[in-house]
Symmetry: C2
Subunit: 221 residues, 2 copies
DNA sequence: AATATAACATACCGCCGGTCGGTTGTCAAC
DNA sequence: GTTGACAACCGACCGGCGGTATGTTATATT
């Protein structure tokens, strides 16, 4: 194989541009031609490296998964941080890791991005659950948590937070309602984990960030 | 306006055919031409009654929502049935109500149907939560349940069961693993609701049906 | 220097969602 | 009962999409 490095770099470049455009306009709304224009390359070049448009989005999501999981594992593995805080920080690392990841998260729940949303949700569910379940097991050993099924508990927490706190569901809520919902969610988490009431209070900061991002998004449009 | 009844009937007919085809092949894979062929009508006729393909899927899902919610409300409102069993039956009514609804549910989690999946999930979350939360409130009054936030609890249960027990996640599991997962889920539900351990044991039949449907689906392909 | 082949370019294809002008059938007015 | 208006319906057509076929160019191998 000749010029293997060129191939790698090109694939990376295509993936980067596609990731940005998908994040900006959504998957369906982004055409191959859009990528071509932005890339300064030909359509043939793209389809030389990828067999289909869906394969491109697969690469984009795979790359995002790797980043998110790596960030989450880094946080989750830092044993110097207490379990409570570590769980919160790991969850935060999963939801917003980098700059353009944030933008993608903003647009993710729009109906146009259903496919990306589904793929990322599944990826989070499958890959992030073990990372967080491990922390829960630690918590159980330390007597902080008590549950016979950490995976299911974490799965519930991840899927619910992903559905209930997306842009469309939080849009119509007042700050008070959102805050109440967040507190209820945390209370529910504590019961799920078998933790003491109030022990996960630090998690509220997760939703402060969310509310801030939501209002900023509103300002832009 | 002339022939208003004709319009209604035609719209119904288009919606029915579209629902069947979407269920069989998925939304993206079904072309307007497919609907035309199956319908024995012209493309122009369809776009006379609907402005876009997405408006058709909206009608299909709206109709499905009405059926599901009506069925769920009928079950939920039958006060002669004890709360435990009523909760279980209502949940069942939401997941498989009618014949072609079952087929739709089977294909719903395939990547091609992301949009329909997302719309139905949101519809379930928004419209079914109040129906089930009402039963939970009854249970609280009767001293069977104990939670300060029935909506959040039900929301968690609905979203998790929708994600965790879909075709793709249950496909790779053995019957034992699936059973273990189902029992863990029920245990988790009991804790969420503040119910006694074992009180929701009847819910296990929900997953028997699911496992049966999954294996039947496997036989067909 | 010749060859093979990866990397890229360009013209093109089939098909899709959606449009447009026209025809038909029905109801209301007179 | 003729006429006008308008909803219902038809089917040829369109722009643009994802994807392909057929190159051309550049580089590593021999």
């Amino acid at each position: 194989m000749t010029r293997k490095n060129d191939s790698r770099q090109t694939i990376d470049k295509i993936t980067e541009v596609a990731a940005r455009l998908f994040a900006e306009k959504g998957y369906e709304q982004t055409t191959i031609q859009d990528i071509v224009n932005d890339l300064g390359m030909s359509k043939g070049a793209i389809f030389h490296h990828f067999d289909s448009k869906e394969e491109i989005v697969e690469a984009v999501i795979g790359r995002r998964r790797d980043k998110l999981i790596a960030a989450a594992e880094a946080v989750a593995g830092d044993m110097s941080v207490p379990v409570y805080e570590r769980l919160v920080r790991t969850a935060m690392a999963l939801h917003v890791s980098d700059d353009d990841g944030l933008q993608m998260t903003e647009h993710l729940h729009k109906p146009q991005n259903a496919l990306m949303h589904m793929k990322i949700e599944r990826m989070l569910f499958d890959d992030a659950t073990p990372v967080m379940a491990k922390i829960v097991r630690e918590g159980i050993e330390q007597g902080l948590f008590d549950t016979p099924c950490p995976e299911e508990v974490i799965g519930m927490i991840l899927t619910y937070s992903n559905s209930a706190f997306d842009a469309e569901h939080t849009a119509g809520l007042t700050a008070d309602e959102l805050s109440r919902k967040a507190h209820n969610f945390i209370w529910t988490m504590e019961r799920l984990l078998g933790a003491e009431t109030g022990s996960l209070g630090g998690m509220i900061q997760l939703f402060d960030g969310l509310a801030g991002a939501a209002s900023e998004q509103g300002d832009n449009e």
